[in-house]
């Protein structure tokens, strides 16, 4: 039996939507950009090379825990036996964080799964169970990926500090190049995205029902809530910045481009 907007009790209207605006622009943009990122990230993650150019380590490979090139493993190589690319060991965490993120859920449910493609536009699927069954019920463990994302953000902060170190052939001490700026911008955006997370908002104070008894957590919740309003923006910006930081390292490591040094 036909259900949905063509169901027997609904106003009989043939069109799946009567919207006259360009409602398809947003899901199409999401699809194209995210798909391009997934293709790029997959290639880079499996490549297993051109991920380190002193002092810059690609964020896709950080922390480099496998059999990594000399100088890139700041936290040892506990998985030196790992036969595949070292990126695969760590990318699962930021990937899981973004896949279960409340903003990305909106984006991919609209852009990829068309469920719905846009508001008041009928979806093509006959049945729908949302996030009540496997695998989508796993979106409920977003907070665990958030814990991991905090650790990754700390590691990337360490990398950004190391980006002030000497490049090949430079004297020891503090230096700076265009790559340092790229890494700094990236880590700031990663932190903003991580701290504006809805699970973070819940953990720092949202779960409480008596803010008045927890003034410090209330202040933290208030700050996170303000950032949370821009969570989608940070999701996009940090997606670009992390890809850009990786691309920058690729260009340096492959000798395509040399890092302009400021001092």
């Amino acid at each position: 039996m036909t259900t949905g907007v063509h169901g027997p009790t609904r106003a009989r209207i043939e069109a799946k939507t009567l919207r006259t605006d360009r409602w398809w622009v947003s899901p199409l943009t999401t699809f194209v950009v995210f798909f391009a990122f997934v293709v790029y990230a997959t290639i880079r993650a499996f490549q297993g090379s051109h991920y380190y150019s002193k002092p810059y380590l690609s964020p896709f490979y950080s922390p480099c825990l496998g059999d990594c090139v000399k100088g890139s493993s700041d936290f040892g190589q506990p998985f030196h036996w790992w036969p595949l690319s070292a990126a695969l060991l760590v990318l699962i965490f930021p990937l899981g964080f973004r896949l279960t993120c409340y903003y990305y859920r909106k984006a991919y449910f609209r852009g990829f799964w068309l469920s719905p493609p846009a508001c008041a536009v009928a979806e093509p699927h006959k049945a729908y169970t949302g996030e009540t069954r496997l695998p989508l019920i796993l979106n409920n463990i977003h907070r665990y990926f958030w814990y991991a994302a905090v650790v990754i953000a700390l590691v990337l902060t360490y990398d950004a500090i190391l980006a002030f170190g000497p490049a090949e052939g430079e004297s020891s001490g503090i230096h700076m190049g265009l790559g340092t700026v790229v890494f700094l911008v990236n880590v700031v955006l990663i932190w903003l995205y991580t701290l504006s997370c809805h699970s973070c908002r819940h953990i720092v104070g949202g779960k409480l029902r008596h803010f008045s008894k927890h003034p410090v957590r209330y202040r933290m919740w208030t700050w996170v809530s303000k950032q949370n309003e821009r969570h989608a923006l940070y999701a996009w910006l940090s997606l670009f910045s992390v890809a850009l930081a990786d691309l920058y390292v690729l260009l340096l490591a492959s000798g395509t481009f040399s890092d302009p040094r400021f001092f």
């Binding site: 259900t3 069109a15 859920r105 008041a120 949302g130 996030e131 949370n228």
Partner: protein, 258 residues
């Protein structure tokens, strides 16, 4: 400045109907509901339309204007090009009664399922005390005018009639969240929010927030916080372990689960 507006209005009932064209004189500053009333007064006296306050506060005149769920009284004609045809249909999620009027009783059924607040005894002076910061969140949800545009646009029931049985919808997630955040209420509604109200059906596509005429952040401030609270109770092994070994979240201590 007066001009002739081209309108297409859905006319019919459950047995059938179609979009009919009307040319109607309108004035600058008018809203869609003004134009509908003029059609009713001059060309189609039997046009059924539900309305009341004409001020965006009663939530009666919900419809779909050019396919977008809107309050007709809050949709300005000046937002459209004068040469554009404006199409108005009833809300497409609810059973149609006639013309622009739908049967929204699904929402009242869901309201009945919602466990009401159970407050503790009053203080010795006969009063109940709550701090403002403890009720701020709930007061945002209290702005709801029950226009049911969020219920209408939610694809969970709009596109799947069968889900109506198991899904309360965004308007009622506001209410579940308001009560769960209530500083005095003694009931823990997290289990019923998941099992009875069907919170897990929501996939956070935020259409409810997009169409809310009161600008309530339904998804960010009610649905997602409730999903996190449900995750605390049902999906988080650390919280479960903490409860087992006595590290309890004291902020919920006075609550009894339904």
């Amino acid at each position: 400045m007066a001009y002739t507006l081209k309108m297409r209005l859905w006319r019919g009932d459950r047995s059938g109907g179609d979009l009919q064209d009307f040319d109607v004189e309108v004035e600058a500053g008018e809203v869609v509901l003004d134009a509908i009333h003029r059609v009713q007064a001059t060309q189609a006296g039997d046009l059924a339309v539900r309305w009341n306050c004409k001020a965006g506060k009663c939530g009666s005149c919900s419809a779909e204007v050019n396919g977008r769920p809107r309050l007709m009284c809050m949709t300005r004609l000046s937002d459209y090009d004068p040469s554009e045809t404006i199409t108005v249909t009833p809300m497409r999620t609810f059973p149609v009664i006639r013309d622009l009027v739908t049967d929204v009783s699904y929402n009242y059924e869901k309201a009945k399922e919602l466990p009401y607040a159970e407050l503790p005894p009053r203080d010795a002076d006969g009063k109940r005390r709550m701090m403002q910061e403890d009720v701020d969140r709930g007061q945002e949800f209290r702005k709801c005018i029950e226009c049911f545009l969020c219920q209408n646009t939610c694809h969970v029931v709009r596109d799947h009639d069968g889900n109506k049985k198991n899904f309360a919808g965004p308007r009622f997630f506001l209410r579940y969240a308001e009560l769960d955040m209530h500083p005095l209420d003694t009931v823990d509604r997290r289990r019923v929010t998941r099992e009875q109200a069907g919170l897990g059906y929501c996939n956070i596509t935020k259409c409810c927030t997009e169409v809310c005429p009161e600008g309530i952040h339904i998804t960010d401030n009610a649905i997602i916080p409730m999903k996190e609270r449900v995750a605390d109770r049902t999906y988080d092994p650390l919280v479960w372990l903490g409860n087992k070994i006595g590290i309890r979240d004291k902020d919920r201590d006075s609550r009894a689960e339904l």
